[in-house]
Symmetry: C2
Subunit: 510 residues, 2 copies
């Protein structure tokens, strides 16, 4: 929070100390009884007060039970900038966004691969690596140095310096958050699955090796538990479902499907493995979104000709999650894939090939691809996708059932994650991954983790964040017979009970 | 505060995170809603919990609005020690005391000269030096390195290491406190006399370069203002006058006379220059207490023979404040010094000598002194003492008069400072420095600054300390005609108004 204030200068009749004078006024303005000021800020304070003639712009950060005074500068335009950094700390990708704290405007954004991928693409490999000699420190250094390097470049682009960055807000999953702090995630994956800590303190960035202003503070979003991280809390904050009267559902689609249902009075969350198929994890052509990656696929209802869109309109090199969902929907609606998810060679025509003894569908022929090879989706890929979408749907059904709601009762369905931004809900419904709700029900949130982290920089959110955390009831997914029955029923396109997907028919092809 | 607790181990039905589990129990035990835990403590926490089977001894330090969890160890006897350090940060001397936090016992103590004396013996020289290039940093380094070195030696003596020290509590005057923190005391001595800060946060010792446990916290006693420091707040805390129904007075005798009068409902304080005479600052033979220094003097009522006591019973090398007061009382009561404080050569006999054109009194002859020279007190020394004692008495009169009390109304008169411990109240009354109250009224507190700092290590004092600070009304001593009249009247032995000192007569010689 930025607060512009005017202090009465000291005099013999009011010889309150410099810091006490400043805090007295801030307490009054903010109507708070506790403002904390660090010694490093005190060193220059007497000179700053006098230089700016007691007309000040103060940067404060709300902590639990107090405000932290982070920076004091002059109230005029010529004073140095006060910048915040929001971080979405993903297992695979890390996104940074700089925000001008004075007006709340985004200055710039950049994305980079999590350098821990060098240790292992999946979090499990990294957690095991953390137990090796020096492993934890190495993992921490990789991500901390990676952020420092990227931040430095991003600052240059935005014509500021890391020294101008006074607040950082970071949201990530539990294991990533722990490793970033140099805390061992050992017990996160071992019964009874407990992290070292769920609610870290707001701390000085120096403590963590982040190179911003030495006085900068960092808020790390709290986790609910080992399998429900701060990125989700940030997503909930960003969606606003925590302040809404109406019950909504929020889904973060990825290797893990994380789901929250609720409103301002209650929230229930669960998470379950959905498999890698939805996140570019297909055997050959699957990949994360990027230049030349197929992100949208449609099929002409009359000619059955595929229309393929790639990011940046480059020659195709592979396909990402949203493209796979579109593709499967097209294959199913056109009859090239049957209700069990099996390719129908006769319907596929010359696009059907056998490779390594397995049927596959040629999405892009060698002559048209950037790789010079056919881009294919195999039967195994489609089977994998089927399991993933079935898991997702079953989780949605289970959590809504737990609170006595039908999915059709929901008026708002938030789809989170960068990926969620690009999913075509119509395709996702066609394959039975999302329930058959009116299309306007689906609200893509984009990178809600980053969005929530950004909110925490400019608004006093800490109490809200803690309230979200404390309000959520985490539902341990009980993989019992009932769950398995539901899962089996969902392992069809779109579902064994077709009546639940009235909108899905070849007539709806696009 | 030490808290021994037993946690329920984690299970699938209670998979609260390690830190949250610990904090939950501590919150319940301490009946508080906020306990803060630092990241460095988290690193080892999972292993500590498991190693000690969830039977723990927690060291907490009360902060404003929360408790800080500083160390977690096993509840059994074999766990590492948890030690606290109290520091009396004097301009001239620094005293360290180690305290076992588990049972509150003092482990050891050591005193050393403030290394800043190399810059200047008086605080004013140092404050000016702080404004020179690198001066402030040099002053800070001198005191911080001095404490580190002394602490290291003291720990060795006590068979512990600085790493065992988790809490530090430090009380000093305002300028010393600021310089210790590396904050410029520039404005302390310039109108309108405002320090950078009066109430520093509890912080990590690392911030200040103190070499104790890296997780150790330091409480720096708050100041009232430029001329009333944390050492006095510590003294008030130690005396207990802040919780007493009865009005008491507390005097810290030194170059500055600092006086507080009050009770649990109100307190008024003032400070004024008393001159160096009371603190070993005499021209030739004056010195701080130490081996061979004369600390007690008496005179035989019949033979007028002086009985001289030295510390450690060594041959005399000089005289300290308590010795000077005794000596002046003896000279006055025996008639060797008159009511104006002038030596009476006829009465002094061969002990009177002229040196450099000035009369002086030989306290110890060259043959009996350790220096091989006469130890003398000169007429100038006695004049200086007269001004000092008059200033002290005038301040006492003024402050009690301000609240409508006679000094004779007081039932308790605390005399603080190491020096206060050794003053013979009877001598101090005889020269008119202290009021003529029954001797049992005077309560020497010893090093009350150190005592108060020690209390803050083992008791939850922070709110009390802040309450004392906020309760005190600081009385700016108005050196007007009225004050000067009182001062003039006090510049006699014991006073122009002898009726105010009924107990003082040659019959009371001792």
């Amino acid at each position: 929070m930025i607060k512009t204030i005017s202090l009465s200068p000291p005099s013999l009749s009011d010889n309150t100390a410099d810091a006490d004078r400043l805090i007295r006024t801030l307490k009054h303005e903010l109507n708070t009884d506790r403002i904390s000021i660090e010694i490093d800020l005190l060193r220059d304070l007497p000179d700053i007060l006098r230089k700016y003639d007691y007309q000040l712009r103060c940067l404060l950060f709300q902590d639990r039970n107090s405000y932290l005074l982070v920076n004091v500068s002059g109230a005029d335009e010529t004073s140095p900038p006060q910048i915040g950094l929001a971080v979405d700390l993903g297992t695979t990708r890390v996104v940074l966004r700089l925000i001008n704290l004075i007006n709340g405007n985004a200055l710039g954004e950049s994305t980079f691969d999590n350098p821990q991928i060098a240790i292992g693409p999946d979090i499990l490999t990294r957690i095991h690596f953390a137990d090796t000699e020096g492993g934890l420190e190495h993992l921490r250094d990789l991500i901390v140095n990676g952020i420092n390097k990227e931040l430095s470049g991003l600052c240059r682009t935005c014509a500021i310096t890391p020294k101008d960055v006074y607040l950082i807000s970071l949201a990530g999953n539990t294991a990533m958050t722990l490793m970033f702090m140099g805390l061992n995630p050992h017990w996160v994956i071992r019964e009874p699955y407990i992290p070292v800590i769920n609610t870290p303190e707001i701390m000085n960035v120096c403590k963590l090796g982040i190179k911003a202003n030495p006085l900068a503070k960092i808020l790390i979003f709290p986790n609910i538990g080992s399998y429900f991280g701060g990125d989700l809390i940030a997503g909930i904050l960003f969606s606003g479902m925590n302040v809404s009267e109406e019950t909504a559902i929020l889904v973060d689609v990825g290797t893990n499907a994380e789901v929250v249902i609720g409103n301002k009075d209650w929230m229930i969350a669960c998470a379950g493995a959905a498999g890698p198929a939805l996140e570019g994890g297909l055997s050959k052509m699957g990949m994360m979104a990027g230049s030349g990656v197929i992100d949208r696929v449609s099929i002409h209802p009359a000619t059955y000709k595929f229309d393929i869109h790639t990011i940046d309109n480059q020659k195709p090199i592979g396909i990402c999650g949203s493209g796979v969902i579109d593709l499967a929907a097209c294959l199913f609606l056109s009859g090239m894939m049957d209700i069990r998810g099996k390719l129908v060679p006769a319907a596929c025509g010359n696009r059907f090939k056998e490779k390594d003894g397995m049927g596959c569908f040629v999405v892009v022929s060698a002559s048209e691809s950037a790789t010079g090879r056919d881009l294919c989706i195999s039967q195994a890929d489609l089977d994998s996708l089927k399991r993933s979408k079935a898991a997702m749907f079953t989780i949605l059904e289970t959590i809504s059932g737990t609170v006595g709601l039908m999915l059709s009762d929901l008026k708002t369905f938030y789809v989170a994650g960068t990926f969620g931004c690009f999913i075509n809900p119509k395709s996702a419904i066609s394959i039975g991954m999302l329930p058959d709700l009116p299309l306007e029900t689906f609200k893509p949130l984009g990178n809600s983790s980053l969005g929530g982290a950004g909110m925490a920089l400019t608004q006093d959110c800490i109490d809200t964040i803690d309230a979200i955390r404390n309000q959520i009831t985490y539902l341990e997914l009980n993989v019992n017979q009932d769950f398995m029955n539901r899962f089996s029923a969902a392992k069809f396109f779109p579902h064994t009970d077709i009546s639940r997907f009235p909108s899905v028919s070849p007539d709806a092809m696009y």
